[in-house]
């Protein structure tokens, strides 16, 4: 008699926000083999960016690659395009971009934490985290005009300035958020039933993470200190004194803690960016067309987001290549699922915070 049993999960499943299909080979309760199919959301954005849309529009199109990290995609594209054009950006615009980026990171991390709590069976914590997440959504709406798809960054600067009212609102919401996240952190740290679901589950060792090229909070939870914000000065992180967060356990609990601590770090970054917000223009005049090749790396909530552009002085680009963090993390995800209990699979998948619309584009 066959000893193993195949269990499919997805493409439509209550625990998944997005269509992804896993095929688990289970022996009793233990997962021994995993196959992942991530291509359900492939729309063909990369080709359309070079044929249908002009280079000034592409920044808004690539934002639709992913709704969770929309601003990060458009920032990454815009920075790469500005490098090709030799475009100057006012310092105020850089700071405003940083604030928008970090607000986005906070809301993405909070969503992931809520989702992990839900998949561990803690519905009340899900509701609570989502309620506190509304604070940062309000701040985003006040600053950019929309809740998820902002279209805030444009070539040469940003599209909206912030007034003193909006600044006060952001500060007030973030102050509230800091307290609330502190309470949530205590729950994640000390709740006994959560610790049963999280501690020692879905472990990726540092060596495994390194070999499978894990990125972002995934790698930082396993003890690999890799953060693009540390490595390249694409936005003024160095001036604000950015410090990355690492843990060493590599389980779901460590990933949650990395995300929680990063929320605090992001709040601190936004507050100090607001303190030292330079005066001046928010956008410079755009001259010329892009020519040559460039690449740009930006730290998305899930890890390193990579853009490669090629252009030859036309309105249309020759090539846009997008490499997103989840795509790099899929092998690590498969590695972590092997040997885990089948019942833990939704929580492990949620703790990776997979973004399939990024992955498949």
């Amino acid at each position: 008699m066959k000893k193993t049993i195949n269990i499919p999960l997805g493409s439509q499943h209550i625990a998944l926000l997005e269509p992804v299909r896993f095929s688990f080979t289970c022996e009793n309760e233990t997962i021994v083999g995993v196959e992942a199919d991530v291509g359900y959301v492939h729309r063909g954005v990369e080709l359309a960016c070079t044929t249908t849309f002009k280079f000034k529009q592409v920044g808004y199109v690539v934002a639709r690659v992913c709704g969770l990290c929309a601003i990060i995609h458009s920032t990454c594209y815009t920075l790469a395009a500005e490098e090709l054009m030799g475009q100057e950006v006012p310092r105020r615009a850089s700071y405003l971009r940083l604030i928008a980026n970090e607000l986005d990171r906070i809301h993405s991390h909070m969503l992931c934490l809520a989702h992990t709590a839900e998949n561990a069976g803690f519905e009340a914590l899900f509701m609570r985290t989502m309620k506190d997440r509304e604070l940062v959504m309000e701040a985003q709406e006040a600053m950019t005009g929309n809740r998820v798809q902002f279209d805030y960054v444009s070539i040469g600067g940003v599209n909206r300035d912030i007034t003193t009212d909006i600044e006060a609102l952001i500060r007030q919401r973030l102050g509230l958020l800091k307290e609330k996240v502190g309470e949530i952190k205590e729950l994640f740290e000390n709740n006994w039933s959560l610790s049963l679901k999280y501690k020692g589950v879905g472990i990726i060792t540092a060596e495994n993470a390194y070999r499978n090229s894990a990125l972002g909070p995934l790698a930082r939870a396993s003890g690999i200190d890799f953060d693009v914000r540390n490595e390249s000065a694409y936005l003024p992180y160095g001036e604000l004194g950015f410090a990355s967060v690492t843990m060493s356990e590599g389980d779901i609990h460590a990933r949650n803690m990395v995300r929680l601590l990063e929320v605090f770090e992001s709040i601190r970054l936004i507050e100090s960016a607001l303190d030292g917000l330079p005066e001046g223009e928010i956008a410079a005049k755009v001259r010329g067309t892009p020519e040559g090749e460039s690449y740009m790396r930006v730290e998305a909530p899930r890890g390193e987001c990579f853009y490669y552009l090629k252009a030859s002085k036309g309105q249309y680009l020759d090539r846009v290549r997008i490499k997103t963090p989840t795509f790099g993390s899929v092998p690590a995800m498969i590695e972590a699922l092997k040997g885990a209990n089948y019942a833990d699979a939704p929580a492990i998948i949620a703790s990776f915070d997979p973004c399939l619309s990024c992955t498949a584009r």
Binding site: S11, Q12, H13, I14, A15, L17, E18, P19, G39, Y40, V41, H42, R43, G44, V45, L47, A48, T52, Y60, V61, R64, V65, C66, G67, L68, A70, L111, A114, F126, M127, R128, M130, K131, R133, E134, M137, N146, R147, V148, Q149, C355, S357
Partner: protein, 172 residues
């Protein structure tokens, strides 16, 4: 009498099946935000369920991608009558920014009949609630006649002893 009994309950607690047919996640996280305490869809009795056989409202996001259209049609056919389809987001209604891309199919109304369209990229949670309230009214009116999905069925053929689903969505 049982039908009348069920109809009363259906109005009070319609369950939603959410399917992402290739959207950018923007609408999906707004739907999650709707379920959360600030907007709280549960006060209308609406719950998110993962099982098509238990749901009344089919909430779809995203332009249909080539990979997901068979699943979309299959999920639609699995939901028991009467059912209401809500298209959430600009790209679900018309294809939006993804219109004409090789992987996307310009909106779900090419495959399944849509009752409520919610525009916006991404729609505000209040818009989503508004759309779902409209959907509730439509659900109440709908008779028990089984709707024939338009442009839906290709030929259902058999393969390996089961139904072959590859051509289920039909050719346009």
């Amino acid at each position: 009498m049982i039908a009348e009994f069920l109809r009363r309950f259906r109005k009070k607690s319609p369950w939603v099946l959410h399917y992402n047919a290739g959207s950018c996640n923007g609408c999906d996280i707004e739907i999650l935000a709707c379920l959360a305490p600030k907007y709280d869809l549960e006060r209308l009795g609406i719950r998110n369920t993962g099982n098509p056989k238990q749901s009344d409202i089919f909430l779809v996001t995203g332009p249909v991608t080539q990979r997901s259209r068979e699943r979309l049609v299959e999920l639609y056919t699995q939901i028991p009558e009467p059912k209401v389809v809500v298209a959430c987001g600009s790209c679900t209604c018309t294809g939006g920014v993804f219109r004409g891309m090789y992987g996307s199919e310009d909106g779900i109304d090419r495959y399944i009949p849509v009752d409520v369209y919610i525009g916006g990229c991404a729609p505000h949670p209040e818009q989503i609630i508004d759309g779902l309230v409209q959907a509730l009214e439509i659900l109440e009116k709908k008779s028990k006649n089984v709707e024939q999905p338009k442009k839906l069925m290709g030929e259902i053929s058999e393969r390996d002893g089961g139904i072959d689903k590859t051509n289920m969505a039909g050719k346009l």
